[in-house]
Subunit: 305 residues, 2 copies
């Protein structure tokens, strides 16, 4: 639909000015979009850094105690979240480059259209000029008609009547020229204005398509990251679920355990017999021997000593 070709006429012919002014907003909106994305990229970067800091907090969680292994889950999750947001930052920074590239392209298109629109601006001004002249010309003709009629009613001399008639005819001729000029300027304006309106519409259409493609890329990046973040959350939840209380207790017992051997009771007879044996051995010198059937445990006090 040629919306611009239909809606920018009307009294005073301001349509061209409105369209021209609107066109100049195009590069502004492109610049604003770049600013918006830049701001978003900064927000994501800040968030990413904060998450990396949070990961450090998790790393510093007490390494002792049964809860310790769960800090690792927090650390990994925070690190991954930091990465997701950093990746979004980078994608948005790339997108800003695309926006700026388009911005340059757009300025070139605008320069070209501004040159073409010069002719239309002239036509608008010419039409405005002849439109101002026309009522003056009409008023002049009207005055001559009234003068002539007044003379006729006053029954003035034929000579004066002839003079008045000549004046009226001249005024009519002048009015005819004004009307012709107006019609010519109007026709020129209509053609040029229509051409320009269609050009403006094409330009805006191209602009909007480009901008929408950029918005699509923006939405896509944000959504991609959102999916990744969802995976990190899911992983976090799964990891927490997978590390059961029983597993944490076992892990702690196995890694921090001091041994499974309880101190055994001592049998006095065996203990004292072993001491006696050792006394005999010492008397015989350094030469060691062992009585068969006497284990280490029976000869010596247990581990605690």
């Amino acid at each position: 639909m040629s919306y611009f070709g239909e809606h920018f006429w009307g009294e005073k012919n301001h349509g061209f000015e409105v369209l021209y002014h609107s066109m100049k907003q195009g590069p502004i909106s492109t610049k604003e979009l770049a600013e918006f994305i830049r701001e978003r990229a900064t927000i994501e970067e800040t968030y990413s850094k904060a998450m990396a800091k949070l990961s450090k907090l998790a790393s510093n969680g007490t390494p002792v105690g049964t809860f310790a292994p769960l800090w690792e889950v927090f650390r990994v999750s925070s690190d991954k979240l930091a990465l997701c947001h950093l990746e979004l930052t980078r994608k948005l920074q790339d997108l800003i480059k695309d926006v700026l590239r388009y911005s340059e392209e757009q300025l070139k298109m605008h320069k070209k259209l501004k040159e073409e629109a010069g002719g239309t601006l002239d036509a608008v001004q010419v039409l405005a000029g002849v439109s101002q002249l026309l009522p003056k010309s009409r008023e002049h003709y009207l005055s001559r008609c009234m003068d002539q009629e007044r003379l006729r009613r006053e029954s003035t001399s034929q000579k004066d009547m002839d003079k008045a008639e000549t004046k009226t005819k001249k005024a009519a001729e002048s009015l005819r020229r004004s009307v012709e000029k107006y019609n010519s300027a109007r026709a020129d304006f209509e053609q040029k204005m229509l051409d320009s309106a269609l050009h403006f519409q094409t330009l805006e259409e191209t602009h909007l398509r480009h901008m929408k493609a950029l918005l699509g890329a923006y939405a896509h990046s944000v959504e991609d990251t959102h999916v990744q973040i969802g995976q990190v959350h899911e992983e976090f939840k799964q990891n927490i679920e997978n590390i059961s209380v029983e597993m944490l207790l076992r892990k702690f017992a196995e890694s921090k355990g001091t041994g499974r051997e309880k101190p055994g009771p001592l049998d006095f007879e065996a203990y004292s017999a072993a001491a006696l044996q050792e006394a005999m051995k010492r008397l015989r010198g350094a030469k060691a021997f062992r009585l068969p059937g006497l284990s280490r445990r029976e000869r010596e006090p247990p581990a605690a000593v």
Copy 2:
């Protein structure tokens, strides 16, 4: 499974110390969890504020031009994202309160267990004491045995032999008492240590269940927000898609349009005839009349004049 009842024995009986030390990490990990969640809440609050600022940037987007209505989509989306993250902040702040409530509860449980563990600590120390005496007692008995044997080999007098034998018997008696003391201390230690180990395990189990429930609530809040954010992204994408280029062009044309009436061409005959009529009318005074079949357009110059 009684992991703690099995893994904290071994040489030197350090198991109790390890378990006691580990228990004291429980409140530390609770405090650290509260700190972690507080940090996360702060991060979300900062992000929320940044999003609100971003929404303002979108509100300030140029209101002129065809792209203008799309800024509203950005503004709404940013506002909603700000709200999602603010809501997460609030949920996390509530969660911190739960963590701190549990922390107080935990300290009470610890106080109770510390009191109960006092008896076990005593048993550990008694066992350590008798374990140190035992080798001394043994060495003393062993020396007496050697003395007696040496006298026997040297064929000492019966009297000296009798004296030595008495000394050996006394040393054996002393050793028997040491062994009995050790056995009694050992049995007491084993029972108390086992009780305490089971208590420690129950405490750690309760702690871990509580902590895991808090982590579950944390994950749930984060996930809830994630789902909401996903809806905001989906909405953003849909809104951008729904606002077609054609719709933007039409909206712009309709709201900023200057009119659909083109300036019409003038017919000189009708235009001059109308001027003549007006001249006659003026001469007749202010009384207005209209010639039938003569439209306004034919009588006057068009809108532009």
